[in-house]
């Protein structure tokens, strides 16, 4: 490392897992977002269809995109913390074994 970070970050054995998970979740959301844009471009009148409680597809899809972003973010954090905890536990066990 040629230019050190503001605060040093220790080794992160969960790093590769988090990168893989992040890319998968990103692709999932990107597809959902792309579908929204595609409907707007290819069949804009579909967006005016009433879907539920007097609300049209445009409104429902828009809100869903925002809510899904948060749900995915929370799930990602949950999986990351679980993996981080696993490695911390494994490291502790290893330390005990050595002792």
């Amino acid at each position: 490392m040629l230019h050190e970070p503001a605060t040093p970050a220790g080794k992160d054995p969960a790093g590769p897992y988090k990168i893989r998970l992040g890319i998968r979740m990103f692709i999932l959301y990107a597809l959902f977002y792309a579908s929204f844009v595609a409907i707007n471009l290819l069949s804009p009148s579909t967006m005016a269809s009433i879907v539920v409680a007097g609300l049209n597809l445009a409104t429902v899809y828009g809100f869903t995109l925002i809510i899904v972003a948060l749900v995915e973010a929370l799930l990602y954090d949950w999986f990351c913390r679980k993996k981080e905890a696993f490695y911390i536990q494994a490291e502790k066990s290893e330390g005990k074994d050595k002792a």
Binding site: L2, H3, A9, Y33, L41, L55, L65, Y76
Partner: protein, 641 residues
């Protein structure tokens, strides 16, 4: 009232900055708040940084005038955080020190990267600064009764104090404060809108009597137009591009402009609709047929003509679903306002604001602003915008530097999640605030940016004062972040790292403060220059520049082993130049220049669909032509921990 709330806020913010300034002695403290900010505070500060004038003033204004199309910005801006969380947050935290340049250059130590990334940071920050300063001017004029340009100067001066005293530390707490207040009081405002419900004759909470615009019947025989009602004289008729036609009528000694709305070719019957107009005469501005004065200003507009087919309806309190459903109803109609410019027979410039009734089901779907059912080019333009919004967030330097203010990569991740929750919630509120302004007679037809504060004014001076002070804080928070990013690019990236000027830590902080002062001055100048342009539109362009210049470098650095230093530098350079040139020669900018947009050599207003792939391709081609180093591999190993 508004002035008192505003002053209290400004004094508090400056006091906080001075207090934190005494504790900021090192460059780490100045640029990254020592990397000690709690992830929860950083998350809300992210929201405070990101929810700029574009989000609060611009998006609400755009929804108020273009309905659902304004909300598309909310969706795109929020979606961009997914890229930030899943792709950028933790790796960037591991790689960087203070700036975006640190991160992309972390494993290369390349002069080319340092120069290109520092210039990119400056360009993107300045592009983003312009709309913030424009928003500041718009806000201060009605709040303090001073000209817009003075508002811009005042905001610039306060921000320079904030940044030059304590850098990222004071900026973080100002952004945290502003982010919290913005979300809390936007919720209050939306609650008030829902409790009031909908009415076809909004009277601004009883403060301003509803103004019913008049229609006149007229006939046309040959070229001669005559008004059926007695007492009206026709002075001239002007046909302008787009098939629009306006007539200047005289009545009781007052001359006003009327919109030729419906014409029946068979009978010659015509409906004339009352408009609002601003005429620039030799003796000053005339508004609606009389000289402009404190009491003669443009009337605020925006109301429902019918609610579910009823033209004299008042709903009372509504739930969020009932509110949206009532507006989505095809039998609901909204009186929106458009703008046209013409020159009258005396050679005077006239701006006419004319009404246009739009059905609710059209308001609540895309199409009013973005021509999703238009030509292939118009559709591509929409696709280009949505692409830039999605990819732009994770490439904004002032957002990226916030990853260095927390202690660990896990904190960077958590603070991004807090930001997504806060920003997502605010963007849902933005739809209600924008629509609330649209139907509550709180849109200034000459400038949609004030829709949210003017909506608050319909609920009383206190809420207006608070919302305006928060909107002002919104500008302060974002501008502070941008100036920290810009000052880091010059003082840290260029002076310290690129030119290798020997400086002590204290001198580095001083260099950062001097740079902040200069960038603040540039921001003031540009804010005055771009007055009157919708701030969301300008931010959309800043996103396109950021996504084109920075994102390909970040993504390929992290995920493509063959990425080289030359590839990154070339990609950033091509991204900046291509996006800026495409914007400069686009139809929207031609309109700003006062030229015919149809003459613009670039047919797209949003450059992302060309400049982002171009930047990626440049990186790949140059990297393949300049194979070297295991730098990419090193970077990947580094981010993986």
């Amino acid at each position: 009232m508004a002035i008192i709330v505003f002053l209290i806020f400004v004094v508090f913010v400056i006091g906080l900055s001075l207090y934190l300034g005494n504790k900021t002695k090192t460059s780490s403290g100045y640029y990254a708040a020592g990397g000690k900010i709690h992830w929860g505070i950083n998350g809300i500060a992210f929201a405070g940084d990101y929810l700029s004038a574009a989000s609060f003033l611009g998006i609400c204004g755009l929804i108020a005038t273009a309905g659902y199309d304004g909300f598309l910005y909310s969706i795109g801006y929020l979606a961009g955080w997914i890229v930030a969380l899943f792709v950028v947050a933790e790796p960037l935290k591991r790689l960087g020190k203070f700036t975006f340049t640190d991160a992309v250059d972390a494993n290369y130590n390349s002069k080319g990267i340092k120069l290109a990334a520092a210039i990119s940071t400056l360009v993107v920050s300045i592009c983003y600064l312009i709309p913030q300063m424009v928003g500041a001017g718009v806000l201060v004029e009605p709040l303090l009764g001073i000209p817009q340009s003075w508002g811009v100067v005042m905001v610039g001066a306060i921000v320079i104090v904030i940044v030059a005293t304590a850098g990222m530390a004071s900026t973080t707490y100002v952004q945290f404060l502003k982010g919290s207040l913005l979300i809390i009081f936007s919720t209050v405002l939306v609650g008030a809108v829902l409790i009031r419900g909908l009415s076809t004759q909004p009277d601004q909470g009883g403060q301003v009597a509803f103004y019913q615009y008049t229609h006149l019947a007229a006939t046309k025989t040959g070229d001669k137009l005559s008004v059926s009602e007695p007492g009206w004289s026709v002075f001239e008729q002007k046909d302008i591009k787009g098939g629009l036609s306006f007539v200047r009528l005289g009545h009781d000694g007052t001359e006003t402009w009327w919109y030729v709305s419906d014409t029946n070719g068979a009978t010659g019957a015509i409906t004339l609709k009352e408009t609002q107009s601003v005429v620039v005469k030799a003796d000053g501005k005339w508004i609606n047929g009389a000289p402009a004065s404190a009491t003669n200003q443009l009337r605020l507009v925006g109301n429902l003509e019918k609610i579910s087919g009823d033209s004299a309806a008042k709903t009372g309190s509504l739930s969020i679903f009932e509110f949206l459903a009532a507006l989505t109803d095809k039998d609901t109609s909204v009186q929106t306002w458009k703008t046209a410019a013409l020159t009258d027979s005396a050679g005077e410039k006239v701006t006419v604001y004319y009404p246009k009734v739009v059905a609710g089901d059209q308001i609540m779907r895309p199409g009013l602003k973005f021509k999703v059912e238009g030509t292939l080019l118009e559709r591509l333009d929409f696709l280009s915008l949505m692409l830039a919004l999605f990819l732009g967030t994770a490439a904004l330097p002032h957002i990226l530097i916030r990853y260095y203010t927390v202690p660990s990569p896990a904190s960077a991740r958590k603070s991004t999640i807090v930001a997504i929750a806060a920003i997502g919630f605010f963007y849902i509120l933005s739809l209600f605030m924008g629509l609330g302004a649209m139907v509550n007679g709180s849109i200034n037809p000459a400038d949609s940016n004030m829709a949210a504060p003017l909506l608050a004014r319909t609920f009383g001076e206190l809420l207006f004062a608070i919302i305006s002070a928060i909107a002002f804080a919104t500008v302060l928070g974002t501008v502070s972040g941008l100036i920290v990013a810009g000052s880091g690019a010059v003082a840290h990236d260029l002076f310290d790292r690129y030119l290798k000027i020997k400086m002590t830590d204290h001198q580095k902080v001083t260099a950062g403060k001097i740079t902040a002062f200069i960038i603040g001055g540039i921001a003031i100048f540009l804010g005055i220059l771009f007055q009157g342009v919708n701030v969301t539109f300008l931010v959309g362009l800043a996103f396109a520049v950021a996504a084109s210049a920075n994102l390909p470098a970040i993504v390929m650095l992290l995920f493509w082993k063959k990425t080289t230093a030359k590839g990154i530098a070339a990609s950033i350079t091509v991204g900046i130049l291509s996006s800026l040139l495409l914007i400069a020669f686009s139809p929207d900018l031609y309109t700003l220049y006062g030229l015919n947009p149809l003459d613009a050599p670039v047919p797209l207003s949003n450059p992302g669909i060309i400049s982002i792939p171009l930047s990626f391709i440049t990186l790949i081609v140059v990297s393949l032509l300049t194979p070297k180093a295991k730098a990419g591999t090193e970077a990947k190993a580094q981010i993986a921990g």
